[in-house]
């Protein structure tokens, strides 16, 4: 499953960047036509997608096989 999460992350960023390229349009009136929302969303989603990749890596290496039960395990 870990590979799936690692793969999904760059796909999300690709979809967002393509969405921005296709929809940013000076003549448009909707929020999706303005560059600012896209800049904010891609800025915030890039670290989230990286987090998903790291999550996938942890899952792949068995980090979640036995979750910690007390704080001294953290």
């Amino acid at each position: 499953m870990g590979i799936a999460w690692i793969t999904i992350a760059p796909a999300i960023i690709y979809i967002l960047v393509m969405g921005a390229i296709h929809n940013i349009n000076d003549a448009g009136t909707k929020d999706i036509n303005k560059p600012i929302p896209w800049v904010i969303i891609i800025t915030i989603f890039t670290p989230i997608a990286l987090g998903l990749m790291i999550f996938g890596y942890y899952a792949l290496t068995g980090e979640y096989d036995k979750p910690p039960e007390r704080s001294d395990e953290l």
Binding site: W5, I32, P37, I41, I44, G51, Y64, S71
Partner: protein, 510 residues
């Protein structure tokens, strides 16, 4: 560090929840009055104002909330829960009240949108710090076997904040004309001013509260964290739990929350063209009937564990969103309504230079009403002598607006929205206890606040934007926007099902 839950937990829950409810109220009134606010502060045709408007909408929700979670979470782990969430309440209340005092664009020009943007960003920052503190505070007072139930009170606050915001706006609107409400110093400002009274009361109550006993004990031992951000996100063992909380629980909960409450109402109003008051009152009734279920599922999570209740809420959303929204579309199809016996209440024709606009208000046998707007455009046709004669071209696509349901369909819609809010109560109710149990006391505020606000603010808050994006890209399916919450909830369900544990951590005193 043995701690016995003190008496007076009811008072603790009340004082924490009231403040959080008010913070949600403050945050929502801005969004609900967005149309009026944009007229007053962000007029069309001014590119700078438009830019500031976009920033106010997007930056406050998506960027600033997670930063607020980091900033105040860190503070809460360094100096304590009580003073931190007192500070967030003061910041939120003051900024909301001040938004209500900013003169309009007509009076002070570009300073108006700039001030409103600044205050909106402070609102986002404060909200980012509030929830983690309040949830942690209650959980650290609650006995282990009732942690889910007691923290579920804090989970009612976001929905009740929405309820109070809707209620106050509708109350003000019902008592004045549209013009008086939308004037520069009109009724739309009242909900902002009301906030200062609510916040004042809540600050007074919160000042009397004591520090969380677990945190106080930790501080007395000198065992608090020196660098909560580093310990939360810099240490792999804790960071992996932050990631699991986000991807296995909170992101799915965020989209379920926003779809069931915000998107449902917005879909009814903007896509189905249901009357302004009725689309909101449907949500109000549905919230009123669904809110007790937050407490029920919180209680149940103490008995059977948190995991499967949260995941069941997500899965039900994945399965039922499209059927429910299909019913919304089908039942508001005015072409079907027109096939019934109708009575014309009023018909007006406005003669324009090149067209006639015909507005007809209909009513059917069960009390449903709607307005049909047709435009007959004048076209020029020449006769054999090349003389132009005017003819009217029939508008094949009339618009139907202000749809009001009869009693039976109104109740049906309340029921359908109620079902979606039940999904919200399942996904959302156990999450405070679940997050609290995931992280140790010394970095709890920081560790749980960030995933919560990314899941709720970013994933949830993006539902309208991504739905519009999908609807614009794939125009054939009017429900295409639902694939975003369905996809995120499904992904979260799979991750949660595989990696989350259903075991209740009884000892959070660590």
């Amino acid at each position: 560090m043995a701690y016995k839950p003190e008496k007076g937990i009811g008072k603790i829950i009340f004082s924490s929840s009231l403040g959080t409810l008010i913070e949600w109220y403050d945050f929502y009134i801005f969004g609900m009055l967005a149309k009026t606010i944009s007229i007053q502060f962000f007029p069309e045709g001014n590119s700078s104002a438009a830019l500031l408007s976009t920033l106010a909408i997007f930056a406050a929700g998506f960027l600033v909330r997670p930063f607020g979670a980091l900033f105040f979470g860190r503070l809460g782990d360094l100096v304590g829960r009580k003073y931190t969430f007192l500070l967030t309440l003061i910041l939120m209340g003051a900024s909301t009240f001040l938004i209500g005092l900013v003169p309009g664009y007509k009076t002070i020009g570009l300073a108006a949108p700039l001030l409103v943007l600044l205050l909106r960003l402070i609102q986002g920052l404060a909200l980012g710090g509030e929830y983690g503190g309040a949830a942690t505070y209650i959980a650290e007072h609650a006995p282990a076997e009732k942690r889910g139930y007691y923290t579920s009170w804090i989970q009612t606050t976001a929905t009740l904040g929405l309820f109070v915001a809707l209620g106050i706006i509708l109350l003000v609107k019902a008592n004045m004309s549209e013009v008086a409400f939308n004037a520069e110093w009109g009724g739309w400002r009242y909900p902002f001013w009301v906030s200062i009274l609510l916040v004042g009361l809540s600050i007074y109550i919160r000042l009397k509260m004591k520090e969380s006993p677990m945190y106080a004990a930790l501080k007395a031992e000198g065992a608090t964290s020196i660098n909560p951000i580093k310990e939360s996100f810099g240490h792999k063992a804790n960071f992996k739990m932050v990631l699991l909380a986000l991807f296995g629980a909170v992101m799915g909960q965020g989209v379920i929350w926003y779809t069931g409450q915000f998107y449902a109402q917005s879909f009814l109003e903007n896509t189905c063209k249901v009357d302004f008051i009725q689309s909101r009152s449907i949500l109000l009734w549905a919230i009123a009937f669904a809110t007790p279920f937050f407490l029920f599922f919180g209680w149940l999570s103490d008995k059977i564990g948190r995991k499967w209740i949260m995941l069941a809420g997500m899965l039900l959303g994945v399965i039922f969103y499209r059927p429910i929204f299909s019913i919304f579309l089908k039942d508001t199809d005015a072409k079907e309504w027109k096939k019934q016996d109708l009575v014309i209440i009023k018909s007006d024709t406005i003669h324009l230079v090149l067209s006639d606009s015909i507005t007809t208000k209909y009513k059917n046998y069960d009390g449903a009403k709607f307005i049909e707007i047709k435009k007959d455009t004048v076209t020029n046709i020449q006769n054999m002598n090349n003389v132009i004669i005017k003819t009217y071209k029939y508008d094949v696509k009339p618009r139907y607006i202000n749809k009001e349901f009869g009693r039976k369909r109104y109740i049906k819609f309340i029921f359908l929205v109620w079902i979606m809010i039940i999904f919200v109560t399942m996904a959302y109710s156990p999450i405070a206890a679940f997050l609290v149990e995931m992280f140790p006391t010394k970095i709890r505020y920081t560790s749980m606040s960030l995933p919560y606000h990314i899941g709720n603010g970013v994933f949830g808050g993006l539902v309208p934007f991504i739905a519009t994006l999908l609807a614009t890209t794939f125009t054939k399916d009017p429900l295409v926007g639902l694939w975003y919450p369905i996809g995120v909830a499904f992904l979260c369900f799979i991750i949660g099902a595989f990696y989350l544990t259903n075991k209740i951590n009884n000892d959070v005193n660590d």
